[in-house]
């Protein structure tokens, strides 16, 4: 059966906003019977991206705004994040070297690396003065 359920949230850019959003994503996951791991990956991405926006991208912006959308499609989960901060393309950020020994590993850059590792498709565009990022995660067969 076709289904397409959607969650839309407008956030005021504060670090604490991530928590309320995480709760909504978990409830959305329960309602759509999504696997724990897929809900976890969405919240992992949101924590990283929104923290970056609040700490850097939206600093000094007159009317800062973040809009988050989450949609369940037939075979995938689509997360979209739109913000009116400084232009930042996460798809172009460099990957940390994850194969190096612990003593040589840089401690930053991990969050974006995780997002890239787990997203099946990732798309970025900057239009109308806004960053628009879309992450697509394929649903595991049992979650479809």
């Amino acid at each position: 059966m076709a289904r397409m359920d959607e969650l839309r949230v407008s956030l005021s850019p504060r670090l604490s906003a991530v928590r309320g959003l995480a709760q909504m994503v978990e409830e959305f996951g329960d309602a759509n019977k999504l696997p724990d791991q897929q809900v976890y990956l969405i919240n992992l991405a949101l924590d990283e991206l929104i923290t970056n926006m609040v700490s850097y991208g939206l600093r000094g912006v007159a009317r800062p705004k973040i809009e988050v959308g989450l949609q369940v499609h037939e075979t995938s989960l689509i997360l979209s994040i739109v913000d009116n901060g400084q232009k930042f393309d996460p798809t172009e950020a460099t990957n940390p070297d994850v194969s190096s020994p612990v003593a040589e590993r840089p401690v930053g850059g991990l969050g974006l690396h995780l997002i890239k590792t787990f997203a099946d498709r990732m798309q970025y565009e900057y239009t109308g003065g806004k960053n628009r990022l879309t992450l697509e995660h394929d649903l595991t067969p049992e979650a479809r």
Partner: protein, 112 residues
Amino acid sequence: MDIEVAEERDGEALVLLPIGRLDSANARSFESIVMERVDRGEKRLVVDFGRLNFISSSGMRVLLMAAKKLQAGQGKLVLCSMPDHIHEVFRISGFDQIIPIRDTRESAVAEA
């Protein structure tokens, strides 16, 4: 925002149990707790995930920093009792190659 962390001594190992959610909102609080223990000379550290249901990359970053610092001083960090969905993410991202993860507290303490 502060994180609640239970703390238990098991032989020579110090076991830390962060509770609830470890994210960008409270990673600094967790960092100061962990690094304070490392700086005062704890060498065998176990972080038990049994009471944690979420860890963000900022939380993982704290673990990485602690592992680095412990390794530099001939110490060791071992993780244990991870929920399946978190363990899977640590495995696929290669994190388990850097910091050992054990199923039980007992085996983590033995290895630390």
